[in-house]
Amino acid sequence: MTDFGSIQDRLALNTYALDEGQNHIEVHQDVARATGTGKLLVRVCPAHVYTEEPDGTITAAYAACLECGTCLAVAAPGSLTWHYPRGGFGVAYREG
């Protein structure tokens, strides 16, 4: 079987225009923890943007985001602020 590497390796093949001035993802830790949304985000995001840290907080590596919106669709109310990156920034698919 062909090994395509880790998700990070695969994303490294993609083209991104990183918006260093603005993070488009914000996890609201208390609500994310109380509702279980935090652990859910870690699983459902195909780009592995979300990571649960040893202390239980959820960090978001927004630079890797593929902008699908799955996280927002499953997030409990108040647990996540997510919008598209500013115009021209973020992932730029070459195949799609």
Partner: protein
Amino acid sequence: MSSQEVDFDVIVVGGGVAGAVCAYRLAEAGRQVVLIERGGEPGSKNLSGGVFYCRVMEQVFPGFADEAPVERRITRNVLSFLNESSCVNIDYWDARLAEPVNAVTVLRAKLDAWLAARCEDVGVMVMPGVRVDELIFDGQQCVGVRAGEDELRAHVVVAADGVNSFLAQGSGIRAKEPAKHLAVGVKSVIGLSRAVIQDRFHVTGNDGVAYAFVGDCTQTVAGGGFLYTNLKSVSVGVVLRLDDLAAKGLTASDVHDHFLAHPAVAPLIEGGELLEYGCHLTIEDGPAMAGHDLTRPGLIIIGDAAGFTLNTGLTIRGMDLAAGSAIAASDVIAAALDAVDYSQQAMDAYTAALATTFVGADMKTYARAPAFLEVPRMYRDYGLLLADVFHGIYDLDLTPRRHLLGTATRAFKGSGLKFRHVLRDGWAAVRAL
């Protein structure tokens, strides 16, 4: 507001198939149109599984299948019931599917860039790299859009901003969609040479094959797997219904990787080079989602933003419905501009127009398909049963043979399925799908 205050006749937000077709038709009819796209290049944010039932595009771009940057013409469709260590395929090839061309595989970064260029040909002002933040309303009337500090005004705004449609949600037209109406598609584009694709998939020239998988491809999560041949690559991946993905405790990328490593799939992509890993949200229950209103005074919602996607179990459609809804919207907007009437009543002609097209008809026909596809037996039991029936036929283990009826009955008894369930599911399938 008075007409002299507008910057354009029509603002179209979103440079996908829906937005581009709508903008093209209005500009072709002599209207002043701007097409706003948040990606730096049109197409750079867009991703689809990849089969476009493209007959509708002939109405907008005659010769579409020859002119547009499409990949392969799908003349072979394979429905695959996938189990852990077996699979049963229905393999349908038909030369009639090539003439006229019925379906093509596409890669959206290429197709949508072409569509935007055609828009420019007819005078659309294509404005990439701009994220529209919200719609501007004057009372009930939508009068324009705001992007950062900038405002643009028009007689009519078209929201073609995709499945997440922040515009429809932000203006209160759509509530947050339930997770069971949505699915995430996780896809890899894997490069293979033309020669390998021809040998491996038994296709010639620019003909291609589309596989739809159900069963172990998603590790029992409601949804399915797909594999489509492009010219020099294949698009392969899974679609996972969000409520079930959440409930089953699985990780989306793991399910994708499990599918690509499956013994029935791995040989098809063996030796390939990963060109792109991507994902996109998609709609599992289009008929329910499109049930909300699609208009406001001065505003029309089209394509995925409106909920126009159909999973019929056998065909998965979005781009054709996007184009169909865009055509209906552009006709209604052209009439509204002629009549200088952008009222709710004028916009509602869109809903009426849709009902007379294949878009409205098919959304109605397949209204019960999503409910059928919720049957959990679809994602495990039926594939195993089929394989057991065929195993009984082909495994000549020196025991006395039975007729097909006896072989099938034995497989059925061993499956643990209840006859009334199978009867009910079969009856529902032929009526819902």
